[in-house]
C-alpha cells in the first residue's frame, strides 16, 4: 500500500478513475503513512481520519455515478494549511488564540475542492498566523524537514511542504504572503506555486496581510500543482479583490517546450548573501533552459534591496489590523485571569499570541501611528509602486524571471528564531513578487553540499501562470524528482521514481 503514496496526485487520480484502486485504498494508504511518519515530522495539526473515510465513500459514489469525469484529482487525498477555514473542523492558524476555533463556513477554496471530489485528510502545520519562514513558531510544535530532521522545513506553509515531501500527502494548499509557499517548497524539494493576486479567492483564508496574501498549491511536481490550482482558481463574488475571470486553464501548459521563451535573470539576485551552492544550481538551471532553446539573459532589476523593508511595513501594518479581531469576545481563547474588559483584551492577546506575532503587530501599530504614517506606511506603498514598475518594465523584455527562491538552503532548527532581522532578510527574493502581485513557482533544481534541496523560482507577469508552468514542466523533464533519503530508503524500488512515470500531459 505504501507504494501508492509515492505516486503523483494525478497518477492516483487516474488509477481511481480506471478502477485500479478505490478512493478508500488511497485514503487508507495515506493515513497509514501519516501515522507512521508524522510523529517525527509533525506536518499536521489536525488529521481527519473519520471524516476522510466518510468523504472517501461519498466521493467514490460520485465517481461511480460518473459525476466527476472532468475532475482529474477526484478521490485523491490532500491537505490544507491550517489558516484556511473548514466548516466544523478546527482551524487554528497554529495559534493558541484559535486553539479551539471551529469555523461556521467553508472557505471558497474548500467548497471548490469538495465539488471537485477532493478528500481532505488534514490541516497542516504552519508558522503562527503565517508569520515566519521556518514553521517553528507554531503553538503545536515545529515541523521538521524530511530531508534532515535537524533542519527547518521553511515557512510559513512548512507543514504542507514537508507533508508533500514526506509523502504524507499527494498535494496540499498553502498560503503565500511573502514567500510562504515558494520558500518551504524550496527547502523541502517540492513544487510550490503562488498564483497572481486575485486568481484564487481569499474568502475563508484567515488574513495575515490582505493585499499580499494568496492561496496556492504544493505538489511533488508542477503537474500536480497546476491541476490543483485549476480547481481552486476562478472568480468569487465573496472576495472583492478576486479577478472577474472564469476557467483558468493551467494543465494545458504542461508541455515540454521552451523554445524562444525569453528568460531574464536579475543580476541583483546573484549578488551578496547568496550561498555559492545555490548560485551554481541556478546558473546550471539557466543552462538547461538555454539548451532547450530558451533565450536566457542577465539584467538589472533595480530596487531589489528595498523590497524587504517595504514588505515588512505593509505586511505588519495590515496584520496589526487583521489580527485585532482576536480579542477573546467572539471565538477562540479568552484569558481565564481577566477582570474587566481591558484585561480580557490584554491578557487574552498577550497569552494567546506568540512572540513573532506580537512583534509584527507592534511594528504594524507603530508604522500606522500618528506621526509615523507618512514616513513609514505611505513610503512603503510608494516603494511598492516602484518595485511593481520595475517588474512591469522587465516583463516588456522577458516572459519569465528566473532566480533562486531563497539565498540559502534550509537552516538548522532554532537558528533563525534568535535573529528576526536575519530571518526577514531571507525573504529577499520572494517578497517582491507579493508586493507586485505576480505569479511564481518554486521547483527543485539540485542539492547543496549538505544534500539539502535547492529551490529555483520562476516569476511570471500578471496572469502569466501558463508560461511559468510550461517552463517548470520542461525543466522537470530534464531533472529527475528526488525524494528525501529517509523516504527513499523505505521504497522497495530504491531510487527508481514511480513519480516520474506517466505524468506527461497525455495522462491529464
Amino acid at each position: 500500500m505504501k507504494e501508492l503514496t509515492k505516486m503523483s496526485a494525478l497518477e492516483i487520480g487516474r488509477m481511481i478513475k480506471a478502477k485500479e484502486i478505490t478512493v478508500l485504498d488511497a485514503v487508507k494508504a495515506q493515513l497509514e503513512v501519516i501515522k507512521e511518519r508524522d510523529p517525527e515530522y509533525r506536518c499536521f495539526i489536525t488529521v481527519l481520519e473519520e471524516e476522510a473515510y466518510a468523504q472517501a465513500a461519498e466521493v467514490q459514489k460520485r465517481i461511480d455515478a460518473g459525476e466527476l469525469e472532468d475532475s482529474p484529482l477526484a478521490g485523491v487525498p490532500m491537505a490544507v494549511k491550517d489558516n484556511i477555514c473548514t466548516k466544523g473542523i478546527r482551524t487554528t492558524c497554529a495559534s493558541k488564540i484559535l486553539y479551539n476555533f471551529e469555523p461556521v463556513y467553508d472557505a471558497t477554496v474548500i467548497e471548490k475542492l469538495k465539488r471537485a471530489g477532493a478528500v481532505i485528510i488534514g490541516k497542516t502545520n504552519m508558522d503562527e498566523f503565517a508569520m515566519g519562514s521556518t514553521t517553528e513558531t507554531s503553538h503545536f510544535g515545529e515541523t521538521k524537514n524530511p530531508w534532515d530532521i535537524s533542519c527547518v522545513p521553511g515557512g510559513s506553509s512548512g507543514g504542507s511542504a514537508a507533508a508533500v515531501a514526506a509523502e504524507e500527502i499527494f498535494y496540499a494548499l498553502g498560503s503565500d504572503t511573502g514567500g510562504s509557499i515558494r520558500q518551504p517548497a524550496g527547502y523541502c524539494g517540492v513544487a510550490g506555486m503562488k498564483p497572481t493576486y486575485g486568481t484564487v479567492s481569499r474568502y475563508g483564508l484567515i488574513a495575515y496581510a490582505s493585499s499580499l496574501d494568496q492561496i496556492g498549491t504544493f505538489g511533488r511536481n508542477i503537474s500536480d500543482c497546476a491541476a490543483a490550482l485549476e480547481i481552486i482558481s476562478g472568480h468569487d463574488a465573496k472576495d472583492s479583490t478576486s479577478v472577474n475571470a472564469e476557467g483558468f486553464q493551467y494543465t494545458k501548459s504542461l508541455v515540454d517546450d521552451v523554445k524562444g521563451l525569453r528568460i531574464g535573470i536579475p543580476k541583483d539576485y546573484l549578488g551578496t548573501g547568496l550561498e555559492e551552492d545555490v548560485k551554481e544550481s541556478i546558473l546550471k538551471a539557466a543552462e538547461v533552459f538555454r539548451s532547450k532553446g530558451a533565450i536566457v539573459e542577465e539584467f538589472e532589476l533595480h530596487s531589489v534591496d528595498y523590497a524587504v523593508p517595504s514588505y515588512y511595513v505593509i505586511a505588519c501594518a495590515e496584520a496589526s489590523s487583521n489580527l485585532s479581531r482576536f480579542d477573546g469576545v467572539k471565538y477562540g481563547y479568552r484569558s481565564a485571569k481577566a477582570e474587566g474588559l481591558q484585561e480580557v483584551y490584554k491578557n487574552t492577546r498577550s497569552e494567546g499570541f506568540g512572540n513573532e506575532v506580537k512583534r509584527r503587530m507592534m511594528i504594524g501599530a507603530f508604522v500606522l501611528s500618528s506621526g509615523y504614517y507618512d514616513a513609514f506606511y505611505n513610503k512603503a506603498l510608494k516603494v511598492r509602486a516602484i518595485i511593481n514598475e520595475g517588474f512591469q518594465r522587465a516583463f516588456e523584455k522577458y516572459d519569465i524571471i528566473l532566480g533562486p527562491t531563497a539565498p540559502q538552503t534550509a537552516p538548522a532548527l532554532g537558528e533563525s528564531l534568535s535573529d528576526p532581522l536575519k530571518m526577514y532578510l531571507s525573504d529577499i527574493y520572494t517578497v517582491s513578487v507579493n508586493l507586485a502581485g505576480l505569479p511564481a513557482v518554486s521547483i527543485p533544481c539540485g542539492r547543496d553540499s549538505r544534500g539539502l534541496p535547492i529551490g529555483m523560482q520562476l516569476i511570471g507577469r500578471h496572469f502569466g501562470e501558463n508560461e511559468i508552468i510550461r517552463a517548470a514542466y520542461s525543466f522537470e523533464q530534464s531533472e529527475q524528482y528526488e525524494r528525501p533519503a529517509a523516504i527513499a530508503a523505505e521504497s522497495k524500488e530504491g531510487k527508481s521514481s514511480v513519480l516520474q512515470e506517466g505524468i506527461g500531459h497525455e495522462s491529464i
Binding site: N100, F101, E102, V104, Y197, G198, S211, S240, T241, V243, S303, D305, Y306, P309, S310, Y312, V313, S324, D327, V329, K330, Y331, G332, Y333, R334, A338, E339, G340, L341, V344, Y345, K346, N347, R349, S350, R359, M361, M362, I363, G364, A365, F366, V367, S369, F376, N378, K379, L381, K382, V383, R384, A385, I386, N388, P420, L421, Y424, L435, G437, H462
Partner: protein, 95 residues
C-alpha cells in the same frame, strides 16, 4: 530612529498587548533594530510616486442590495467563550 520604552508601551497599548517591565528594553532594542533597517527605504527616491495599496487596477466591485442571509445565531455563537441570551457576553463596558 530610537525606539524608547515609552514607544514600546504606546504601541503595546494600541495593540492591546502587555509587555512586562523586564521585556520592555529587549523589545525596544528589537523594534529599534528592525525599524532602523526598515528606514533603509529612505534610500529610494519616491518623490511624485503614487502610493500603491492595490496591486491590480481593479475598481467598482459591488453587490446588489439584496437580503440573502438567514438567522444563523446558534452557529455564530458556537465559538463564543461566553454567551448569554443569544448574545456574546463581556465584562461590563459602561462607566
Amino acid at each position: 530612529m530610537k525606539i524608547t520604552e515609552d514607544t514600546v508601551k504606546y504601541v503595546a497599548a494600541l495593540a492591546k498587548l502587555t509587555v512586562s517591565e523586564e521585556e520592555q528594553q529587549k523589545v525596544a532594542e528589537d523594534l529599534d533594530r528592525i525599524l532602523d533597517y526598515i528606514e533603509t527605504m529612505n534610500g529610494l527616491d519616491t518623490d511624485g510616486v503614487e502610493p500603491m495599496s492595490h496591486v491590480l487596477p481593479m475598481k467598482n466591485v459591488f453587490r446588489e442590495d439584496i437580503v440573502t442571509n438567514r438567522d444563523e445565531r446558534e452557529q455564530l455563537l458556537r465559538n463564543a467563550p461566553k454567551q448569554k441570551d443569544g448574545s456574546f457576553a463581556v465584562p461590563k463596558t459602561v462607566e
